[in-house]
């Protein structure tokens, strides 16, 4: 696909991060505030702890216990307050984060439904599924944990520095210098971490593709010896993922060991400096202990910055994949087509003039095709298999942009109507009907032009089903209209599915009826019933039939032969 371009694009890291944060929109300030509050609360708690320890040590040093009770009580009060603040912050932060993730999920899903038809034909649905599950989840980690951890580390570093400076600015200054050194080293890991994150994401996509292949082609897997190959593909992808993870692991292990090194080095630096400062009487033992207690935590959080930054970059790589996905071109609202005079007066319901189209450059499917369909007439498109009949239907539905020529439906053309409007004028019954994983009633109601299928009254659904001769078999099902056809639709026969699809078209009640060999999967009896139904539906409507069978053609007023 366009992996080469993707890699190039995701190199620009900061825009992706800011773009991703921007997706939170109006919730972003609340989110950031919640991070700040929770972090401050948490740090306050720790500082209170440090104070307490300091006071106790000082008391031990001076062997004096007066006022200790007050100090302890005060610090306890501080604990409670900071915990409450912390919890308040953390809950709100999480709620905002979860909503942010939901927002991203919705956005990715909506995008996945707005791409040009070509995308669905050329790309694997596993690719999209991987973005919706894996990439959203990993990128969501930015909202959910990475950013908080990182900014918490930054904020607390600053918060811890303040009392440290207060106790001894000279010592703190020296310690900070040691820490900055570690930070610089950690920074080296950012780039490779991000690259590996992108790799892992792409590999996960591949794994998902192989998985969907196995799931969708289960019948073939069982009856043909293809399962082994699919499994081998899946396992290879799984192994790839594992290897990339291992590479990432090596990097993060190196990071961790470096941090351990800096941890001990820090202790050493502290000790050395402490001894020197003590011997010069520049610091008291109580202060030194307090600084040490804070420094212990400070060192950790400061090292965390170095640790979390590369991890964050790893997630930003996933956000980058989402970014690329969101940048993909969508199906336009309408295609650029010259206006057409034909059809404006209402004699012709559908006109196609000089339409050319091909999927790939060197195999032209439709070449300078024209047809005019009178309003209220019934036209059959016939021609050899592979001559482009179905493609013409798809062009009429605006699935592809023709290379040249113009189309008008009921006087509407690209000039004055959107694809949405044009499509609302056509009731389409495809060759292989698709039933959604919702009840049969809802499947039929999806035909509704109102866009609110849940509001379609049951009577209307039943009426449509009766017109399509589907009512009886639906009622014979154990759950009747509430039956949910399985994914493979195994519980319904081809003819039954076809009739549900026709009922959907009936409910849509559009002026133009487009049938792509709607009766092919039917036996003679159901075909008779459906044709009878179609006769009923076609009355007063313009019908275009794509026909392989002569019996279908029999109904037509006019036959158009497609082919060279």
């Amino acid at each position: 696909m366009q992996s080469g371009r993707e890699v190039h694009k995701t190199e620009k890291k900061s825009p992706v991060f800011f773009w991703f944060m921007g997706l939170m929109e109006e919730r972003l300030p609340f989110y950031l505030a919640a991070i700040l509050i929770s972090t401050v609360g948490q740090a306050m708690g720790r500082i209170a702890n440090a104070w307490l320890v300091k006071d106790i040590i000082a008391a031990a040093q001076e062997r004096r216990t007066e006022g200790l009770a007050v100090t302890v009580a005060f610090n306890f009060f501080l604990f409670v307050v900071s915990w409450l603040v912390w919890r308040f912050g953390i809950i709100h932060y999480n709620i905002e984060a979860k909503h942010g993730i939901a927002k991203v999920e919705k956005m990715v899903f909506a995008k996945a439904l707005r791409l040009p038809m070509e995308y669905y034909e050329k790309n694997h649905s596993g690719d999209f599924m991987s973005r919706l599950t894996f990439d959203v989840e990993r990128a969501g980690d930015i909202y959910g944990s990475r950013l908080r951890r990182l900014s918490a580390a930054v904020i607390s570093s600053v918060v811890y520095l303040i009392p440290m400076f207060y106790y001894s600015y000279r010592l703190t200054f020296c310690l900070l210098a040691v820490s900055l050194l570690s930070f610089a080293v950690n920074g080296y890991f950012m780039k490779p971490m991000k690259r590996l994150g992108g790799e892992l994401s792409a590999q996960n996509g591949k794994m998902m593709e192989h998985l969907t292949d196995i799931l969708a082609g289960m019948e073939l897997v069982k009856i043909f010896p293809v399962g082994k190959r699919l499994l081998a593909d899946y396992e290879a992808a799984s192994e790839n993922c594992c290897q990339t993870e291992k590479k990432t692991n090596r990097l993060s292990a190196a990071l961790e060991s470096l941090n351990c090194l800096f941890d001990l080095l820090g202790t050493l630096a502290f000790l050395g400096l402490g001894i020197v400062f003590l011997s010069y009487g520049m610091i008291g033992l109580g202060e030194l202990t307090a600084v040490y207690t804070i420094y212990g935590t400070f060192r950790y959080v400061f090292l965390d910055i170095g640790l979390y930054l590369p991890q964050m970059m790893n997630c930003v790589a996933n956000a980058g994949r989402l970014y690329d996905f969101m940048q993909m071109e969508e199906e336009p609202e309408r295609y650029e087509m010259p206006d057409t005079e034909a059809g404006k007066d209402g004699t012709y319901a559908v006109t196609m003039e000089h339409i050319s189209f091909s999927y790939e450059k060197d195999r032209e499917i439709v070449k300078d095709f024209s047809m005019q369909v009178k309003a209220g007439s019934c036209v059959a498109l016939v021609g050899e298999s592979g001559c482009g009949k179905s493609t013409i239907a798809k062009l009429l539905l605006g699935f592809y942009e023709p290379w040249g020529g113009r189309i008008s439906i009921c006087g509407k053309s690209a000039e004055n109507a959107s694809l949405h409007e044009m499509r609302s004028l056509i009731s389409y019954v495809p060759q292989e009907p698709y039933l959604y994983g919702v009840s049969i009633a809802e499947n039929i109601a999806y035909g509704s032009r109102s866009g609110r299928p849940e509001e379609v009254p049951m009577e209307e659904i039943i009426k449509a089903a009766k017109t399509a001769n589907a009512h009886e078999f639906i009622m014979a099902l154990p759950d009747g209209y509430q039956t949910i056809p399985g994914e493979r639709g195994n519980t319904l026969s081809g003819g039954e599915k076809q009739r549900i699809a026709i009922a959907r078209a009936v409910l849509k009640n559009a002026p133009v009826l487009l049938l792509d060999e709607a009766t092919s999967a039917l036996d003679n009896e159901s075909e008779r019933l459906v044709n009878e139904a179609l006769d009923r539906v076609c009355r007063g409507r313009t019908t275009i039939m794509i026909a392989h069978r002569s019996s279908t053609i029999a109904m037509a007023d006019e036959v158009i032969v497609v082919g060279s």
């Binding site: 999920e105 599924m129 010896p225 292990a253 999967a521 158009i560």
Partner: protein, 620 residues
């Protein structure tokens, strides 16, 4: 034994790579010791300094530097072990489940949907992986930290420990209560994620219908609702976990503070030194958080446990019955698959030959009173009986929804029959190894499924290790070779998912080519000429008669004219065989078949009349 092994998916994969976990734990332990020793060392130095003694820098630094180097290396090894552990466990679980997926019966997918499987193999594996990379190692390390530090502290003052752990029982109770509540929420959360994946998959698969019916808004509403529910569950789980954090902090800080005060008391009483107290403070800081974490990781355990249970559920799902037989003779099966294709061929025919001995009068397929229904309370097949002899061509005809395709699915063992008898080559189907039984069938189904790979690979599905010549030969026999060559990329043309860019006739013939390549003795054809025009029908008909030669053929047909030549025609009505006989016999019977045939003939006549209808070719 098989059952037990399967039941413990994680136990097994977890223990196989247990060395890595052990490495991690050992590393963590070592690291802890080094850190404690280091701090102890420093504490002693502090003591000396405070007591007014000097510190010999060189003798002091050398061991410390050694400790630093050892610590760094240990940290690297520890971290690598822990993370690799999770990576390899996740991989093994994925592979085990992938393999298991192949063996699951159709009803599993009918019931659960692909969405659930996809969520499990991506999201839940990730969550389970987190268990192995973070939760479990952290737990172990925390336990070790707490134990080692505690041992150290006990040596210092046993009373401290009593104070420190006083609140433990209460903490355990609270943690347990919270984590149980959490688990409930997480189960709902995950279930909704299944639905989300399923819905998204559904919407993308049905994009053609979705576009033509302007269903964008409807689909968006559908999935947005689910995503909102997921977010609600996620927030609910947050409330519980954050409650856990707060409780954890309160319950650890109080005893720790008490400990400090107690240490102060001890110091004032002169039982410990300032240096000891300092060291005690440092150590206390080290176990302050681990103490709470050990208890409250119960939350994480339960949360990851939900995902692991879901994966277990997939793993435990009963495999197709015939597959198990093979699993038991695993070595034999492996050896068999290792043999080259030809070897397998002879093996199979030998197998069939052996089976033939049990066959009466060449009856390849025998059904006696077979019943079946997809739903319990709705039977599709109500006692079907037939006998098919080797080399016969039989046809099943009848209305839509009478169970014709269902018969094929049962023949292939996609679904198990509810009752009755099914003999394949004279042997009960149940006693067959399912894969060997399926090797006897080729299937050309109504809706052809193509993988989104090249045409070559799609045809090659028919036979393992098919050569280029064999593929071309099969395509020639299926009358599709020339058409394929017309494509710019020929055999390398990639068909989109579900082959959207090929016409029905083209797909049908690719599927026939597959069947040619498989070269199985029994051929099942579900409506092979439904979706094609008359010109192509002739070509397909030709291919069909070519492939039927020397095989036992079962064919489902809606148009009776295509099956006139069949040796026997079964007319189905309400899940029963209403009539059987040759075309002529059935016509004379004047029953269901004759009625259907009469209607078809009428239509054919009409059509003949229509041929003179107005007709214009649009381009030359």
């Amino acid at each position: 034994m098989v059952g037990k092994r399967r039941a413990d998916l994680f136990w097994q994969t977890g223990t196989v790579h247990g060395g890595l976990l052990a490495g991690y734990v050992a590393g963590a332990f070592l690291l802890n010791v080094i850190v404690i020793q280091g701090n102890d060392y420093i504490a002693q130095a502090v003591d000396r300094v405070l007591a007014g003694y000097g510190v010999e820098i060189r003798t002091f630094l050398l061991p410390l530097l050694l400790m630093i180097v050892a610590g760094t290396l240990t940290a690297y090894g520890k971290s690598l072990c822990g993370k690799h552990y999770s990576a390899v466990v996740a991989r093994d679980v994925r592979n085990t489940l992938g393999k298991h997926l192949m063996e699951l019966p159709f009803c599993y997918f009918d019931e659960k949907g692909s969405g659930s499987v996809m969520t499990k193999l991506s999201s839940d594996i990730g969550e389970a992986g987190r268990f192995f990379s973070e939760i479990l190692p952290e737990f172990l390390v925390n336990v070790i930290t707490v134990v080692t530090v505690t041992v150290y502290l006990v040596r210092m003052d046993a009373m401290l420990i009593v104070i420190l752990f006083a609140s433990y029982p209460l903490m355990l109770l609270v943690a347990n209560w919270l984590s149980k509540r959490l688990e409930k929420v997480v189960v709902k959360w995950r279930t909704n994620m299944d639905i989300r994946t399923q819905t998204a998959y559904d919407a993308v698969q049905g994009i053609v219908t979705g576009r033509s019916y302007n269903l964008y808004e409807t689909m968006k509403r559908r999935i947005d609702g689910i995503i909102d529910t997921i977010a609600d569950h996620a927030c609910a789980s947050t409330r519980i976990t954050s409650m856990g954090w707060v409780v954890k902090n309160v319950m650890t800080t109080i005893p720790v503070t008490a400990c400090y005060l107690f240490a102060l008391y001890e110091l004032l009483a002169g039982r410990i030194t300032v240096g000891e107290m300092l060291s005690f403070t440092v150590l206390m800081g080290r176990i302050l958080y681990p103490i709470g974490d050990v208890v409250f990781c119960l939350n994480d355990f339960r949360q990851a446990g939900v995902s692991m249970k879901r994966l277990q559920e997939l793993h435990k799902a009963e495999a197709e019955s015939g597959i198990k037989a093979e699993a038991e003779s695993g070595i034999k099966a492996e050896a068999e698959t290792g043999i080259k294709a030809e070897g397998r061929e002879t093996d199979r025919t030998a197998d069939a030959g052996r089976k033939k001995e049990n066959m009466e009068d060449g009856k390849v397929l025998v059904w006696e009173n077979v019943c079946f229904g997809y739903h319990e309370n709705q039977m599709v097949l109500n006692g079907i009986s037939f006998e098919i002899k080797q080399g016969e061509t039989v046809a099943f005809v009848g209305g839509s929804g009478e169970g014709k395709s269902t018969i094929f699915r049962l023949l292939c063992g996609f679904y198990p029959k509810a009752s009755g008898r099914y003999l394949l080559y004279g042997q009960d189907y149940e006693s067959w190894n399912l894969q060997a039984a399926r090797a006897c069938f080729s299937l050309v189904s109504q809706n052809v499924f193509l993988f989104p790979v090249s045409i070559r690979q799609n045809v090659a599905c028919g036979k393992e290790g098919a050569t280029e010549e064999e593929i071309v030969e099969a395509c020639k026999n299926a009358n599709i070779h020339e058409l394929i060559l017309k494509f710019p990329q020929g055999y390398d043309t990639v068909v989109g998912e579900r082959g959207t860019r090929l016409s029905g006739g083209e797909k049908q013939r690719i599927s026939i080519a597959r069947a040619f390549l498989k070269n199985a003795p029994l051929l099942l054809m579900d409506e092979p000429t439904a979706a094609v025009d008359e010109g192509t029908e002739k070509e397909i008909q030709e291919a069909v008669s070519r492939i039927s030669r020397g095989r036992t053929v079962l064919i489902i047909a809606h148009r009776l004219s295509t099956v006139r030549q069949a040796d026997c025609i079964y007319a189905l009505k309400q899940g029963r065989i209403a009539e059987r006989g040759t075309h002529q016999e059935l016509l004379e019977m004047g029953g269901v078949y004759a009625g259907l045939y009469g209607k078809e003939q009428e239509k054919e006549q009409e059509k003949a009349g229509e041929k003179e209808a107005e007709r214009h070719a649009v381009w030359a």
